[in-house]
């Protein structure tokens, strides 16, 4: 059973666009993550993942490894 979720994770510390691209790659290559997109202007990581495979905490761990902190989470519509 897969449990697809979408979230917009607002980050602090996302200051250089190249780091944004790297974060995107790192999250994208995490098993269970279907799609990861870093929006530099907004300072957010928009992610779609299968909660049956990967937990939010695991994604947050990838984020903090890159030296970034989560400031807010906005769950997204699952139907889109």
């Amino acid at each position: 059973m897969s449990d697809i979720r979408r979230e917009m994770i607002l980050l602090s510390g996302l200051n250089c666009p190249t780091c944004a691209a790297k974060l995107e790659k790192a999250v994208q290559s995490t098993p269970g993550v279907n799609q990861a997109k870093v929006i530099f202007g907004a300072g957010s990581l928009n992610v779609e993942y299968d909660a049956a495979v990967v937990s939010y905490d695991k994604i947050a761990e990838v984020v903090s490894k890159m030296g970034l902190a989560v400031t807010a989470r906005v769950p997204g519509s699952a139907s889109r």
């Binding site: 979408r6 917009m8 607002l10 602090s12 510390g13 996302l14 200051n15 250089c16 666009p17 190249t18 780091c19 790297k22 790192a26 997109k37 929006i39 530099f40 202007g41 907004a42 300072g43 957010s44 928009n46 490894k65 030296g67 400031t71 807010a72 906005v74 769950p75 997204g76 519509s77 699952a78 139907s79």
Partner: protein, 592 residues
């Protein structure tokens, strides 16, 4: 203090400032990532080795200082979006039997009855099923006037109750609420790149590798270590890549806080080129609520009799004019004559038979003719003069005799004339009205609002509105279409720029439109257009500045006038400059 002491001091500074940079570089290297930090560390070590320790000190200190300033200013440009997120409802009071249970806003399901007390945020989109309250909708609509919500009212999440008590049946919950979608759309809009930025991105992609190659090649050819290190320092594309996104999110975020959702990207370029704005009439330029403005009794009758007869005929009608007549009768305390046997005649009106066996009819002259009700030339003149004023006129007959007429009109929105004048001031040369209504009603509204009669297309079916927009485009016009997003959806899709109004009521319109107004405030349209132009202008300034700085640095290094320290200083300053320039967009768009 001799020179070597100064030198040692500089090395200490370079190590102190450089340690965190080195740590960052090593962390990234472990993740097999090549980073700007690594460039800076390499350049600094190189500088110390060639005896330019002070350059190493300046480069590392500037890098750290610059990074700190950048994070501060970036956080500011993102603040508009963050404020929207902070205004999101987190919890909800849900009725479960006789209890009210506090749950997370994301646990509410469709159909739940949500309770909102004073000070609470409305956690769902839905319909009020009990109670009444005054709601501050400003975080969604940008409007400061509170909304009075009673039973039957549609309310949106993110509104704040100022007082009163509401029970709301949840229709859209959690991530599907208008407010939540708004936040997503703003963030995504910021990511859409205008054409000018896409060109720049391609440039930035080869810029860094090219400059690093130049550094290596330069050293191999000239054996000039200093030149090679200077190239390393300026290889970071910082300002090039940050130029547009920081301005976009600041600009789009600040307009979203005013209830105007502007989708980003090349739409900004399209919006800037608009020279024609086409408006739908009913519900867009007008309130969309027909109201009885005159009840005129012919000789031998009273206005009350006219209204009573009309109301009895309209009792079973679904027509939008019927509700206007019934509302007026109720307001005037006139009871409809008891009636039976209603006969709806499309395009003409309604005929009913009262309990006294009399025929009561409301409709146009064609209906009167069909019923063989005599209408005198004087009565006909009264109808025509009212129609010339833009009213829809219904004749009323009772027992085969014309007894009076009822004039119904849809009033322009109070800010419509002002908004059209502001659009003209903003350089929109042509304002067009497209309407399904009759020519006389359209021309009357046009005259009140200052729309030229040859810019009014009346009597249009929805698909004819599409061809009207195409006609304008064929004539070379770049058209923005303003509509409610439901009836006008095809015309909106055809226009170069679509502007949907009252988007909090129509989610589909919010997703599809280029600009979505969360309120019905028409003044937001000229504001949105000039704000879009300003965003584009600042994006272009940033792009020009970023490219200019890169050219300046490259040339400066080549002719030997820019060294490590000055190169780093100019580079960091350029990133700060584009961020600060973008921050100017946080200031609210001008206007009311």
């Amino acid at each position: 203090m001799n020179l070597s002491t100064v030198n040692w001091l500089m090395i200490v500074v370079a190590i102190a400032a450089g340690a965190p940079i080195a740590k960052e570089a090593v962390t990234k290297l472990r993740m097999r990532q090549f980073s700007i930090a690594l460039l800076v560390v390499l350049a600094s070590i190189g500088a110390v080795l060639i005896g330019e320790a002070w350059e190493a000190a300046v480069v590392t200190v500037l890098y750290v200082l610059g990074g700190w300033l950048e994070s501060r200013t970036l956080a500011r440009t993102r603040s508009a979006l963050k404020e929207l997120v902070d205004a999101m409802p987190r919890t909800a009071g849900v009725r479960r039997g006789d209890d009210i249970v506090e749950v997370s806003a994301y646990e509410v399901v469709r159909g739940d009855i949500v309770v909102v007390r004073p000070g609470d945020l409305v956690p769902v989109d839905g319909e009020v099923v009990a109670g009444s309250a005054s709601l501050d909708t400003s975080s969604v609509t940008g409007e400061s006037m509170p909304m009075e919500a009673g039973v039957g009212a549609q309310v949106t999440s993110g509104s704040v109750s100022l007082g009163g008590y509401l029970e709301i049946r949840a229709e859209q919950v959690g991530a599907d609420t208008t407010f939540s979608r708004l936040i997503y759309l703003v963030a995504e809009a910021g990511e859409q790149k205008p054409k000018v930025q896409r060109t720049l991105d391609r440039f930035a992609q080869w810029y860094t590798p090219s400059v690093i190659s130049a550094s290596v090649l330069g050293y191999l050819v000239s054996r000039d270590m200093h030149l090679a290190l200077s190239f390393l320092v300026i290889a970071c594309p910082g300002a090039l890549v940050a130029a547009a996104p920081v301005a976009m999110i600041a600009g789009l975020g600040s307009s979203a806080r005013r209830g105007v959702l502007i989708k980003g990207g090349e739409r900004l370029e399209r919006i800037a080129r608009i020279d024609t704005v086409a408006f739908d009439k009913t519900g867009t330029l007008t309130l969309g609520r027909p109201r009885v403005v005159a009840v005129e009794a012919f000789e031998g009758s009273s206005p009350e009799q006219v209204l009573a007869a009309a109301a009895s005929a309209e009792l079973r009608s679904e027509h939008h004019l019927a509700s206007a007549i019934l509302a007026r009768a109720e307001a005037d305390g006139v009871a409809p004559l008891p009636a039976r046997d209603w006969d709806l005649r499309p395009g003409q009106g309604v005929v009913a038979v009262t309990d006294d066996g009399l025929q009561a009819a409301v409709g146009n002259t064609a209906l009167m003719k069909a019923l063989e009700v005599a209408v005198s030339p004087g009565q006909l003149a009264a109808v025509e003069s009212r129609e010339a004023e833009g009213e829809t006129v219904a004749l009323v007959s009772l027992a085969g005799r014309a007894i009076g007429l009822i004039g119904i009109a849809d009033e322009p929105r109070p800010d419509a004339a002002q908004a059209i004048a502001a659009l003209r001031d903003a350089g929109i040369g042509r304002i067009v009205m497209l309407t399904g209504d009759n020519r006389r009603a359209a021309e009357h509204i046009g005259a009140v609002l200052g729309i030229r009669s040859d810019h009014i297309r009346a009597g249009l079916m929805p698909d004819e509105k599409v061809s009207a927009v195409r006609d304008l485009q064929a004539g070379g016009a770049r058209v923005a279409m303003v509509g409610d997003g439901i009836n006008d959806a095809p015309a909106l899709a055809t226009a170069d720029v679509s502007i949907a109004m009252g988007a909090s009521a129509t989610r589909a319109a919010m997703e599809a439109a280029d600009i979505a107004l969360m309120s019905n405030n028409l003044m937001r349209i000229p504001e949105a257009m000039s704000h879009s132009r300003r965003i584009l202008q600042i994006v272009r300034q940033n792009v020009a500045l970023a490219v200019g700085v890169v050219v300046f640095l490259l040339a400066g290094v080549l002719v030997g006038r820019v060294h490590l320290a000055s190169g780093m200083a100019v580079h960091e300053a350029s990133i700060l400059a584009v961020t600060l320039n973008g921050m100017r967009l946080l200031k609210q768009p001008r206007g009311s």
